[in-house]
């Protein structure tokens, strides 16, 4: 029973990571109808930036915010440079560009920061809390990811800029007619998605150690979470991410064993797309012939 509770709590902690990456994916998907296959690699790159800042002597949270901000700028730049021409391109072209971006970011990470596995510090105490059910890092990481997700939610719901960004994602034509600069809203969306990715990377790196391919498995879980929750619903993506975290932990511990956890993600993806493609909270989209 104790092990079970610990698995659930662990699952919530990793779920927070998946929920963050899933949210980043859904934000970009909602606005552009493209899946950012490079989201994981961008998050890894951001984590390395944080490590560099820490090694330069900056306190942890300053480095954290630094990586957050730099990632934001990188996200905005990528959108402005690469994504304008791809906006209305056929699917094959856009998939090609995103895979290309994945390769470039992945290689750059390896080239700039080398391939040796590195340790990444955690700002939270190492000890087990609450009678051993949860580690300091798990609790802290869940707190951080939840806070970021809540802040993002408040931003979109209650600020003018957030409203403009949502409008640009839902209806770019009408948005232009009220004066919203749709292009820049997309760029901001990319920036925010990249910044959220950096949070996820910093929270997961202490556990899985930092190397250029750190996020490829996590990206898969995030995909599963985003699809499970509904790829056009940000709230759904967050819930989906947490659910996948719990399912992964329980499944890995009791059903398929830890070696097949990625397969579990694959099974979730196939199951969702076959049974309920719009996810738990997404809207059904009917296309007119």
């Amino acid at each position: 029973m104790e092990g079970f509770i610990h698995q659930i709590i662990s699952g919530i902690a990793t779920g927070g990571i998946y929920a963050s990456v899933a949210l980043a994916l859904v934000m970009i998907y909602q606005a552009t109808h493209h899946v950012n296959f490079a989201q994981g690699e961008m998050a890894t790159f951001s984590t390395y930036i944080a490590l560099v800042l820490i090694q330069l002597g900056l306190p942890y949270w300053v480095a954290f915010i630094g990586a957050f901000s730099i990632s934001f700028v990188i996200g905005v730049s990528i959108e402005r440079v690469l994504m304008r021409p791809v906006a209305n391109a056929p699917v094959l072209t856009s998939v090609g560009v995103f895979i290309g971006l994945l390769l470039i970011v992945n290689s750059m990470t390896g080239w700039v920061f080398d391939y040796t596995i590195k340790q990444f510090p955690s700002p939270f105490p190492d000890k087990a809390l609450f009678g051993g059910f949860v580690s300091g890092h798990e609790l802290g990481s869940t707190g951080v990811t939840l806070s970021v997700l809540i802040l993002v939610y408040l931003f979109f719901r209650h600020t003018r800029l957030g409203l403009a960004m949502r409008a640009a994602a839902f209806n770019p034509v009408s948005s232009r007619l009220v004066g919203v600069r749709v292009g820049w809203m997309l760029a901001l969306g990319w920036g925010l998605a990249a910044a959220i990715g950096s949070v996820a990377g910093c929270m997961v790196a202490p556990v899985v150690f930092l190397d250029p391919n750190m996020m490829s498995g996590i990206l898969l879980y995030a995909f599963a979470g985003a699809l499970l929750g509904g790829i056009d619903s940000p709230l759904g993506a967050v819930l989906g991410g947490f659910m996948v975290g719990i399912i992964e932990n329980l499944g890995g511990a009791y059903v398929v064993g830890t070696e097949l956890k990625l397969t579990l993600a694959l099974v979730i993806i196939i199951a969702v797309l076959t049974l309920k493609p719009s996810g738990l909270m997404g809207r059904r989209v009917y296309s007119r012939v």
């Binding site: 003018r160 034509v173 948005s175 232009r176 004066g179």
Partner: protein, 236 residues
């Protein structure tokens, strides 16, 4: 008459297909100008051209300033509000959010005062304030679209087929409100309508568009009295 908007030799095309062939027309300052024509004549394209939403050639001048070639977002900030065909409602957002977007280009405090004026014209919007806009009826969405446009405090209001798909009773209600708006807001209106009777009752000047060219131009009152024009072009 003072002219707010004027076009000279306006051409427009969708890709390779040319739709407008050299239009010359003007919108009177403070008045209502009607743009009539059958389906496919190019009326909607004309409004889109004025907003920079299609590729154009030729001149468009707003109060003497050239706006052809400008981006939509910038034309909007010069005081042009477009109520598109199909209403252009932000379906997933609430009525409140739709209205806030209408006031996007204005400082927040100013806009909130205007909200009350909008409720004065369209009390139903106040009732449905927190409802999702996609659940509103066609007539209510049309009201919302007009309110959204007015919240911009525009100099020029472009209306694309406000009567489309609405029951006659609702249409009359909306046109009644639009008369009040014309009198109280001091905004110039360019009205595109398939329903010629309605439009000619409301407007001072009228243009008739046929396959991308203006074939008739004149005072609305005279055109509606001319039986020949009515029979050949307007179908009644």
């Amino acid at each position: 008459m003072t002219v707010l908007l004027e076009t000279k030799s306006l051409h427009a095309a969708y890709g390779e297909t040319k739709v407008l062939h050299g239009l010359d027309f003007a919108v009177r300052q403070g008045g209502v100008t009607a743009l009539l024509g059958a389906n496919g004549a190019g009326k909607t394209t004309t409004l889109r051209a004025l907003c920079g939403m299609v590729r154009t050639q030729g001149e468009i001048a707003l109060a003497g300033k050239r706006i052809d070639g400008m981006a939509t977002e910038d034309i909007v900030r010069l005081g042009v509000a477009h109520v598109p065909d199909g209403r252009g409602t932000f379906m997933e957002l609430t009525v409140e959010e739709n209205m806030r977007l209408g006031a996007y280009t204005r400082p927040a405090r100013e806009a909130t005062a205007d909200f009350d004026r909008m409720f004065g014209y369209f009390p139903r919007l106040k009732e449905r304030y927190r409802q999702q806009a996609g659940t509103l009826s066609g007539g209510e969405q049309q009201m919302l679209a007009i309110a959204r446009a007015l919240l911009l405090r525009p100099r020029l209001l472009l209306l694309d087929e406000p009567s489309f798909g609405l029951a006659p009773l609702i249409v009359r209600e909306i046109f009644g409100i639009m008369r009040r708006i014309r009198d109280e807001e001091g905004v110039s209106i360019l009205l595109v309508e398939q329903n010629a009777t309605l439009a000619l009752e409301f407007a001072e000047d009228a243009y008739l568009l046929e396959t991308g060219r203006i074939v008739i131009a004149g005072k609305a009152a005279e055109i509606s009295k001319d039986e020949g024009i009515r029979r050949s072009y307007l179908g009644y």
